[in-house]
């Protein structure tokens, strides 16, 4: 998965921002690079505060391509993301994107696709859903039959963004405390409802991804997972955010790939979850 489009560094305009839960924010930004962005890619957010040097990498959640907008849903995890949460309509923020490889959308053609998201891994799944049904325009495109793409979403407790998905597709829903959907994790829901799939895209906590990868492997379903790691540069220079893989990196000749540029999306059988 190489040949990512060159990223753009720019000052973006905040279109809107709202809180979805106590610590989960939904942000719409107007950026120039929407045409080259794909689901599963991320954007680096630079803070104005010079004492916080490193960009905050946030996955693209959704697209409004005609208006050149990207949506981000993120958790306030520390002081940096708290500062981002204060951005209001009309404010500007320095960003770089799109970064990383994104999901191989072209593999969806002719398949029944299951999008599996857990917790803050749910947002990028929405972009996959939106783009799967986008009108063919500037790219080689495909048309999927209705209901070809379904979502399986796992939450700790009260769901967020649920209507974003349920308005567009069937959702297999699980919560750990049983407050909505099936009690258990996302695989509990998938197994109980025997969700059909020929292709899986997943994003979520590492333990969930490992379980999804083995579920897919047992059934010979091609599966792609998006990994997360502490990141510094975001462009592949510092080698801070590597993931263990089974195959060797073609340049570095070691079984580590850079999450920021070789990922964040990896073919699940190549990921070393041990």
């Amino acid at each position: 998965m190489s040949g990512n489009a060159a990223p753009t560094l720019e000052t973006a305009r905040v279109v809107s921002q709202e809180a979805l839960t106590e610590d989960t924010m939904s942000l719409w930004l107007e950026v120039s690079f929407v045409p080259k962005a794909r689901p599963g890619q991320f954007v680096s957010f630079y803070l104005d505060d010079p004492s916080r040097l490193l960009p905050r990498p946030i996955s693209i959640c959704d697209f409004e391509r005609r208006l050149s907008l990207l949506r981000f849903v993120y958790r306030i995890a520390g002081e940096g993301t708290r500062q981002l949460s204060l951005l209001r309509t009309g404010d500007s923020v320095r960003v770089m994107g799109p970064l990383g490889n994104g999901y191989p959308m072209e593999e969806m053609a002719g398949k029944r696709v299951l999008l599996i998201g857990g917790g803050l891994g749910i947002p990028p799944m929405l972009g996959c859903l939106t783009d799967a049904y986008r009108e063919p325009c500037d790219r080689e495109s495909f048309r999927l039959p209705p209901k070809a793409v379904n979502a399986a979403l796992g939450y700790r407790s009260a769901p967020f963004m649920l209507s974003d998905f349920s308005e567009k597709t069937h959702v297999y829903l699980a919560t750990e405390d049983g407050s909505a959907g099936v009690k258990g994790n996302v695989l509990t829901a998938i197994r109980e409802e025997m969700a059909p799939s020929d292709l899986i895209f997943a994003c979520g906590p590492k333990r969930m991804l490992a379980a999804v990868a083995s579920y897919a492997a047992e059934r010979c379903i091609p599966c792609y997972v998006s990994l997360e790691e502490r990141m510094a540069c975001g462009v592949g220079a510092c080698l801070g955010c590597v993931a263990k893989t089974k195959s060797e990196d073609p340049h570095y000749h070691v079984p580590y790939r850079r999450v920021c540029t070789d990922g964040p999306v990896f073919y699940a059988p190549d990921v070393d979850f041990s």
Binding site: C233, V242, V254
Partner: protein
């Protein structure tokens, strides 16, 4: 008239004093999308070992106030891949390339030096100061006797100018600088990162898998300026200054303290165009101050 930013270090002329700090600039390709690499005074590569090195487990990086910790552990493709893939890519920019050399033993350093001596690299920077590898690196760089010995051994087998990169994690950095000079070094560069640690109080675990890491960024800049000042008064060879340089003002401070060249590193992570902004800011400063050459400023603090 446009101010003259050019400097000469160990017989190599750089069109300006601004370089990339080793390990922050990848193989060079990564930042090519954000600015014209040929504008740099020199590119300093990531540490080059005789064979591919895996580096440390993750997490390898953590943000700290005005800085960051890293414990990458010198992951790198090895000298053969560097020569086959990275060097030809950098050569197309016509910018001097300074190869940073690392090894677990003297023999390993020499293997790399020998191979690179037959290439077009302009200078060799010997990394005796990486805090994140068990053997080699800082194990050499904190002992003046070992610094002198490795410098002599390298100088014996190469005609390339040799820079010794010094560690700040010593009692008196002037001692290791003098040892490098006594061993025949053409130049010293400083500072490498300061060893630090960060703990997650909620999990009560170390943030970095390596437990300790190297602190870089604006937080260490005053320490670096002081060490550059001390070293430039202790040795007669040129000094390349680095440590938290993010702006032209930071770079000029380092030059006034005694550095002939300077390097931008961690600042790239906050602004991929930081090095170009440093160059442009220095030009503006020299023009405003009516100083014809940056060379007039080297060590000019009083």
């Amino acid at each position: 008239m446009r101010p003259d930013l050019s400097v000469c270090i160990a017989g190599v002329t750089l069109k300006n004093p601004v370089m990339t700090a080793s390990g922050t600039f990848g193989s060079g390709k990564e930042y090519g999308a954000f600015f014209d690499i040929s504008r740099l005074g020199a590119v300093v590569t990531k540490g080059i070992a005789p064979v591919p090195w895996k580096g440390n487990p993750v997490p390898r990086v953590a943000e700290t106030p005005s800085g960051m910790l890293n414990a990458i552990g010198l992951q790198g493709p090895g000298v053969d891949t560097f020569m086959a893939e990275d060097l030809p890519y950098l050569a197309q920019y016509g910018v001097p390339v300074i190869a940073n050399v690392c090894g677990h033993s003297e023999e390993e350093y020499l293997t790399v030096v020998e191979k690179l001596s037959d290439t077009d690299v302009s200078m060799l920077e010997i990394n005796v100061s990486c805090p994140n590898v068990r053997e080699g690196g800082i194990a050499f760089g904190t002992d003046p006797g070992k610094v002198c010995a490795i410098t002599q051994a390298v100088k014996k087998i190469t005609k390339k100018p040799v820079i010794i990169k010094l560690s700040p994690n010593v009692t008196d950095i002037r001692e290791t600088a003098k040892a490098a000079e006594a061993g025949g070094a053409d130049c010293v560069s400083l500072i490498n990162t300061l060893i630090g640690m960060k703990i997650d109080v909620r999990t009560r675990r170390f943030i970095l898998a390596n437990r300790t890491g190297g602190l870089s960024g604006p937080a260490i800049h005053p320490v670096a300026v002081r060490m550059v000042y001390d070293v430039s008064h202790a040795v007669g060879i040129p000094v390349i200054g680095m440590g938290g340089i993010s702006t032209a003002e930071d770079a000029l401070e380092m030059i006034l303290a005694g550095a002939t060249g300077i390097a931008v590193g961690t600042a790239f992570f906050h602004d991929p165009q930081a090095a170009v902004k440093v160059i442009e800011g220095m030009e503006v400063y020299l023009a405003e101050q009516k100083i014809s050459s940056v060379r007039e400023l080297v060590g000019a603090v009083s």
